[in-house]
């Protein structure tokens, strides 16, 4: 496979995952804004921060408002992480690597692009927002489903998965990074309504409310939520789950190609040294420091993969 093709697959699926995550963040922000008294534009500031695009937004706007934030996240051309830009990027990469994709994956991707482009051509009204966000999630899910159902399990698939899970791990880490303080064991009484809102926000941002209840019961505990998002091996958006998938796919590449690349050693280290702990060890390390470290390691892993598989020169 061409290095360029590996690169294109990696970024196609990364961009697709990012589009989906951004849609989910908007959904969460909107839900909190609608159901909680006193929820303010501060909430949108933290959504923007989680999406990694607060600086860009501030450079472009005087203040944070709900409407402007949603528009920025959904369809701004100045925001490379907006849903529209991500879907365009994913589709552009898909065109580049079209020979590596099955017809069904390509059509799902191209159909997603056509639909998203049409719907996001104009500002989305509040009334239409739920359907639009739902469509984005469904369409990106369609591409993933076609990928899962029709692609050979070879190096092509591995790079697609690596892009997906690196982006997802990064996203989950950023959600925790922005809200880490609400997960810290607090001296004041937990269970205040503010904390409840924050915890719900976190779980919703990873579509994890239902899964959390199954695993931990109906009452939210910050320690459990942290465990769920960082170390739970069954939760498909937890750091540990994503790291395992990355380790698997980098491992498959290693056996396919007959040698393990340095990136495999890196993910193996991340998994063993950081994600095989129990949650108390994470709190002892310092939740904030832990997440900062994870973000750093994931960034480093991404760069190593580029080098190992000759994405560029």
């Amino acid at each position: 496979m061409l290095g360029k093709t590996a690169n294109g697959l990696f970024w196609m699926y990364r961009a697709l995952e990012r589009a989906e995550n951004t849609a989910r963040l908007i959904e969460t922000g909107q839900r909190i804004a609608l159901t909680r008294m006193g929820a303010s534009d501060e909430e949108w500031r933290s959504v923007l921060q989680t999406a990694g695009t607060l600086d860009g937004y501030i450079a472009d706007h005087e203040k944070v408002t709900k409407d402007a934030a949603i528009d920025w996240l959904l369809r701004s051309r100045d925001n490379p992480s907006s849903v529209l830009c991500c879907v365009e990027q994913a589709r552009m990469n898909a065109r580049t690597v079209r020979t590596a994709l099955t017809g069904e994956v390509w059509e799902a991707m191209n159909g997603t692009y056509m639909r998203v482009k049409e719907v996001l051509a104009r500002k989305v009204s509040e009334r239409d927002l739920p359907q639009v966000l739902g469509m984005i999630r469904q369409r990106t899910g369609l591409v993933r489903g076609a990928t899962h159902g029709t692609m050979l399990r070879n190096d092509i698939y591995d790079f697609a998965r690596i892009g997906t899970f690196l982006e997802r791990a990064d996203n989950t880490a950023r959600i925790i990074d922005v809200k880490y303080y609400v997960l810290l064991p607090s001296v004041t009484a937990v269970g205040t309504s503010i904390d409840n809102v924050q915890w719900e926000t976190i779980l919703r941002s990873v579509s994890g409310q239902g899964g959390y209840r199954m695993e931990y019961g109906a009452s939210s505990e910050p320690r459990d939520i942290a465990q769920f998002l960082i170390l739970n091996r069954r939760m498909p958006r937890s750091l540990s789950f994503c790291a395992h998938k990355l380790r698997d796919n980098l491992g498959f590449l290693g056996s396919d190609y007959g040698e393990r690349a340095p990136s495999f050693a890196k993910i193996d280290h991340i998994d063993r040294a950081y994600l095989s702990l129990d949650i108390d060890a994470v709190f002892d390390y310092g939740l904030h420091e832990f997440i900062q470290k994870m973000l750093l390691l994931l960034g480093d892993l991404g760069r190593q993969i580029e080098v190992d598989y000759r994405f560029y020169e």
């Binding site: 061409l2 093709t5 065109r95 020979t99 190609y257």
Partner: protein
């Protein structure tokens, strides 16, 4: 434009349905136009979803457009096709022999059948190719011959495309679309398949690999990239052949071989189907500013370690001035009378011809010698006075830059319009593969159709569309 009677391939000149179209006509008469209109829209949606688009140059946003597709097939009988394909084969054989000769002994010049300046003063002639024998002895691995028809038995070659003919993906996708939308039509008509083309192309390219490899050759397709107008076709063909789609920056020369950057390091390519023009192929040999090609690729080629398809320098054979010599060229190399007619052509470089052309401008089509895509041409009968005057000036300023031809009474084929069937002018580009194993012509080709009533310009960049082209088993 005038009351001239054109030969209609469905209705002839008398208005009775010709034989190849009879089963189709029966089917069509039983169809509800509303249903067919819906099918026409369905076809467009299919093309868009599949991404069968071309990029339009010179627009702010790289826009992707559909080439309009018309659902009425163009139908050619097996007997007509046999006759055509014999003529095409003869012509392609002559073109390859001509190219070999031009870059070796130039016997045709020595024999006085072609003026020397036609070669030496021609930009498409590459001195770098003199004395180089391409692997397998093949120059034009892939050829598209543009044909027009003026009557039941009259076909003319309008143009030879010996560089990098495009459009074959439309031939294939048009058929796929028709199969999906009108399966019943294919049960009523025995249509020769075109779907063998990608496999034939691969085999034909592989058969031209450098000799003595001792392993299965690796084939790659070189594209200028995602913004090229034919990118869809490039990725489509690479995909169908199961070969890598490479760009210049994926390639480099290592140890005397052309290599591509894979996830496991640099691996050699033996056959390069390039969809990049000669000029951009090698910045060390040709255009130094080119980033689309590979520095040093021509050295690998001349050392015999790489097949480039089509060979560099084949453009000399599809030049419009050389075109006018094609009857002589065919006779010289095959020793036979040409089976396919050439359109009578006035070379404006010739004084007497120029005078004739200037006197009869209103009846003629004038083309640039090196032009393509229907740009920079004058269609006398439909031109305004102002256009005629402007072109007259151009002709007088640079006569050698132009050729002129009579306006042919191009045949028509019906298209599906809001008010039912309506005749429109068409041409046909069959695709030809050449290898040491022989010449392979896919039955059918790309039919381009001028969608505007009365128009003779079929180019997709100027309002042309395409049709599925059927060759029947008689």
């Amino acid at each position: 434009m005038n009351d001239q009677v054109y030969f209609d391939e469905m209705l002839g000149t008398e208005g009775t349905v010709r034989r190849p179209y009879q089963p189709f006509n029966t089917w069509f008469e039983g169809e509800d136009p509303k249903h067919l209109r819906a099918k026409q829209r369905e076809a467009e949606d299919l093309f868009r979803l599949t991404g069968i688009t071309f990029n339009v140059y010179g627009r702010a946003e790289a826009e992707e457009r559909l080439i309009p597709f018309d659902i009425i097939p163009r139908i050619i009988s097996g007997r007509e096709w046999q006759k055509l394909s014999r003529g095409i084969e003869q012509r392609v054989r002559a073109i390859n022999a001509f190219l070999y000769d031009i870059y070796h002994g130039q016997e045709i010049v020595k024999a006085g059948r072609l003026p020397e300046q036609m070669i030496t003063r021609n930009d498409a002639f590459l001195p770098e190719m003199i004395g180089t024998r391409p692997p397998g002895g093949v120059y034009t691995h892939i050829v598209g011959i543009d044909l027009v028809r003026t009557g039941p038995e009259e076909f003319y070659v309008l143009e030879d495309n010996a560089r990098t003919p495009s459009g074959v993906s439309y031939m294939l996708e048009n058929r796929e679309t028709m199969l999906q939308m009108f399966p019943e039509l294919f049960s009523r008509n025995r249509v020769q398949p075109v779907s063998t083309y990608p496999g034939d192309l691969y085999n034909s390219l592989a058969a031209c690999a450098p000799e003595g490899l001792g392993r299965k050759p690796t084939v790659g397709l070189l594209t200028p990239g995602i913004f090229n107008s034919a990118y869809f076709e490039h990725s489509f063909l690479a995909d169908e052949m199961g070969v890598e789609l490479v760009e210049g920056h994926d390639l480099r020369v290592e140890d005397g071989r052309l290599c591509m950057r894979t996830t496991l390091g640099y691996k050699p390519i033996d056959v390069l189907y390039r969809r990049v023009d000669d000029d951009f192929l090698d910045p060390l040999t040709f255009n130094p500013d080119s980033t689309l090609g590979v520095p040093g690729i021509m050295d690998v080629y001349r050392a015999g370690n790489l097949t480039i398809a089509n060979a560099p320098g084949t453009g000399i054979a599809d030049d419009k001035a050389i075109y006018s010599y094609m009857p002589e060229i065919v006779e010289f190399y095959t020793g036979e009378r040409p089976l396919l007619e050439n359109v009578p052509t006035w070379r404006c470089s010739d004084k007497e011809s120029l005078a004739y052309v200037l006197d009869n401008l209103k009846e003629l089509v004038v083309k640039e010698v090196h032009g393509s895509g229907g740009y920079g041409m004058l269609i006398g009968p439909t031109a305004t006075k102002k256009e005629l005057a402007e072109f007259r000036k151009k002709l007088e300023a640079r006569p050698g830059n132009y050729i002129a031809q009579p306006t042919l009474s191009l045949s028509t084929v019906p298209i599906f319009t809001k008010s039912g069937l309506a005749p429109r002018h068409v041409d046909l580009r069959p695709f030809v593969l050449v290898s040491p194993k022989g010449i392979n012509i896919t039955p059918g080709g790309l039919t381009r159709v001028a969608l505007k009533k009365g128009s003779l310009v079929v180019n997709s960049s100027q309002g042309g569309g395409t049709k599925d082209t059927w060759v029947l088993e008689d």
